[in-house]
């Protein structure tokens, strides 16, 4: 059975390290951008992330992309 994939939503998430807690575990802070075009390329999102992260104080740990697709039978 063939399945069609329709991208319906994309998000960009920057994961920052804000320090460590009393047990020495890294404390993470996430910043999500919800208004990302579904057809944005990974390169574009990476460029934007690299431009944004030096404007704030924390260490950038991850640049993550969240895509949501709807699957339908074709």
């Amino acid at each position: 059975m063939a399945v069609n994939t329709l991208k319906v939503d994309s998000r960009l998430q920057l994961v920052f390290s804000t320090g460590t807690d009393e047990d020495g575990n890294m404390v993470l802070k996430r910043k999500s951008f919800n208004n990302i075009k579904t057809n944005a390329t990974d390169e574009q999102l990476h460029e934007v992330s690299i431009a944004l992260y030096p404007l704030q104080q924390h260490i950038l740990v991850d640049i993550a992309r969240d895509d949501r697709s709807v699957l339908t039978e074709s």
């Binding site: 951008f33 208004n35 990302i36 999102l45 404007l55 704030q56 104080q57």
Partner: protein, 70 residues
């Protein structure tokens, strides 16, 4: 808590804001300008009213919270 707000105008002339917590201070104007230009150039954000076309303003906003004890 402080926030950096980057404000853009979209194709319909409406303002769209991208914000980041804990901005670096003092602000490096050139760096903020470069970041905003990169966001416009990459064109990966959408808004009601189309793509971002122009930088409008950038500012740091501080929110002060005072707890009231009963």
């Amino acid at each position: 808590m402080k926030k950096l707000e980057l404000k853009f105008l979209n194709e319909e002339g409406k303002t769209v804001t991208i914000s980041l917590d804990d901005p670096v201070e003092p602000v490096d104007t050139a760096q903020v300008t470069a970041a905003m230009d990169a966001i416009i150039a990459q064109g990966c954000f959408y808004s009601n009213g189309g793509d971002f076309v122009e930088k409008k303003e950038a500012r740091i906003v501080e929110r002060n919270v005072f707890d009231i004890s009963f």
